[in-house]
Subunit: 452 residues, 2 copies
Amino acid sequence: MATIRGRMARRALSPGERLPSIRRLARDLAVSPSTVVEAYDRLAAEGLIRSRPGAGFYAVGAPAPLALAEDGPALDRAIDPFWVSRQSLDAPSGARRPGCGWLPPDWMPEAALRRAVRTLAKADAAVLTDYGTTQGSLALRRLLARQCAEGGVEAGPEQIVLTPSGTQAIDLICRFLLNPGDTVLVDDPCYFNFQALLRAHRVKIVGVPFTPAGPDVAGFEAALAAHRPRLYVTNSALHNPTGATLAPRTAHRVLTLAAAYDLAIVEDEIFADFEPEPAPRLAALDALARVVRIGSFSKTLSASIRCGYIVARPDWVEGLRDLQVATNFGGPSPMAAELVLRTLSDGSYRKHLAALRGRLARRRREVAGDLAGLGIRPWIEPRGGFYLWCRLPGGRDAAEVAKAALAEGVVLAPGNVFSVSQSAADFMRFNVAQMDKEALRAVARALAPALG
Amino acid sequence: MATIRGRMARRALSPGERLPSIRRLARDLAVSPSTVVEAYDRLAAEGLIRSRPGAGFYAVGAPAPLALAEDGPALDRAIDPFWVSRQSLDAPSGARRPGCGWLPPDWMPEAALRRAVRTLAKADAAVLTDYGTTQGSLALRRLLARQCAEGGVEAGPEQIVLTPSGTQAIDLICRFLLNPGDTVLVDDPCYFNFQALLRAHRVKIVGVPFTPAGPDVAGFEAALAAHRPRLYVTNSALHNPTGATLAPRTAHRVLTLAAAYDLAIVEDEIFADFEPEPAPRLAALDALARVVRIGSFSKTLSASIRCGYIVARPDWVEGLRDLQVATNFGGPSPMAAELVLRTLSDGSYRKHLAALRGRLARRRREVAGDLAGLGIRPWIEPRGGFYLWCRLPGGRDAAEVAKAALAEGVVLAPGNVFSVSQSAADFMRFNVAQMDKEALRAVARALAPALG
């Protein structure tokens, strides 16, 4: 009975599908046919299966939908990759969120945003009422093409596809390149939602140990040889969660191996604007042959304006556009693209970014000092951004600490939600912009049991 | 060589994968081993495959991505389900689009939209800068719950998930319920993008003949028995492309059969606001047990504000939220939800809808008269909406007519883009709100060859 229940739960046996014959299951399980007969009768009595005269038994019951959070190895709820997303996005107002992946409203360019919204009220009726084009605003794609060129990535606006978010940009690439059962490489640790997204694509996820210089090259090559992955998903500019930067020699080795094993790469640029000075980019070195650049404006401009983008080789663009039409009927909201364009073009935006980088540099130092006082040490000192990837003192279990802090209304990001191998149990990712004295005290109290 | 090329194109043979042994392929194709050796040598010379000493031949070459438009039976480009989307969404300004599926800007509530945008400029900073919650604006979900109740669907706000579009609402349901290889039923004819979306999910699409009272019940039952589909996707209020309304007896039979064969149903409500008076709803009769309601505001409010919604049974909501976090990191833009809420709450909106229904009723009569003058006859006279599903005179091929009209900058929607069975070659869907004299003349000229 457990075998059949398990298969139905795993969707290995769908409603309407025929069950194995009594003889075959008895042989497979090395039990007597009468045992199987009794099990099938009980399952039928429970209404889980139905017998069709002369046609054996069939699975019934309501459709068993895909349950992402339960996929893969059964994880403690606290280290489910969805845990931080749920807690951060649905936190009650007033909750503190050092575990979340974005800046508080008062760190964002509020005045420029309000100006952009006011001018939007005077835009052409079509901008306010009509669908956009399948690739999205040409004016915004031109601006992004110029930004790409500044970063050494030569791509025309026709190679850029706007999407409703950075996550959807990666999702679109996955739909375009992956088949269920393919293998995908991620960094270990990596942004937890990469794992969640890849689960939705029913692919095998393999982690590569991450070093302060990027992925461990030996581990990377071994994974390519052993698993023949189709895709590698990573951040270059500032890595999430570690804040590390890809070293030039690592970038070159990664691309050489990618060519040898015919690997495609998604380079997520979402933290690029936080860099003090530009680091090497896979997309620039590879000239977009097998690397796809994706990005969005959620971290430095607004997470409420949903707009991301893909920069890809020209021969992939039409397929990506078709997929976006099929799954979203058009690109991002024309209003959203207009708001992004107006704010990025606002003279104040570059000043905002410069001020933001300075403010974050100070905040990283302050918070690192505060955490040191609790015996919490950063793995590295990031060049930029708002993350500190830290080891807890005395091998404390970060999941337990996060649960204790949550009881006080403080959302933390325990290490193992970022780790495919579950090898970051005593790490925690802190967002320095969300880390106030109150949150620090909650972390101290959550740690106390081990210290006392 | 053609066999291997075909397998690589179909991704039946992926880069890095081993080719069949020479002996096996020779046997499978009933050719001599030396023929296979020569074919493999030539493919290797072309760089498509590579031999590894002692390990046989492997496929190489850039990843062959998913090509939706080329999926399934090779279709003439003019009747590819993407044809109308591409032409309509990317039409040059000034092009006429009687083939498109939305209203022109001057039919939309422009003044109310501008008011909503102006007040948005004064919203809380969080609305302008922050991510939304995973289910989306509670205030908007409460308003939608009240609308559902008016339509006889009892669902609390906690059963509603906001999405970035109506298409993404269906996409999320498909990801939640479907596995690759599952079978899905659609109406024949049906909205062409249902086919495009389902192709992206790699499912088998089966069409059920559609009648003026809804799906043909005998054909529906036969399809359930023959294919055991997991899902049926349809419109109830006003069917796209026909404008037909589901009859009560058909609705009851469909739900009875769905229960007998354990079928889930997506009821797309996107044209609901165009109904003069409410028709039966599967979601209301079934009380959301196996029916999911989806909708959006693109047709009556704005297609630029991207916001749709799902109304589902309570035990499916958490899974849908997780999937949306994984694939979009949060629901629709909080700004978008705010704009929808402000416009729907604007006293003028119900008046706008009433005026819209009256204007469309007049326009349907006028355009039906104009088309009759060309010998083009509507299949039925719809109760509401902006579509007329018409048969062309003299069995003219709608794809040919659409190509001729496109040459004059007029985008039409030929019947077979809506037909899984390709049995609507002499039908055309006309959007009466986009059908001006200029478009009518172009249609007349495009028809002329057959008439003259």
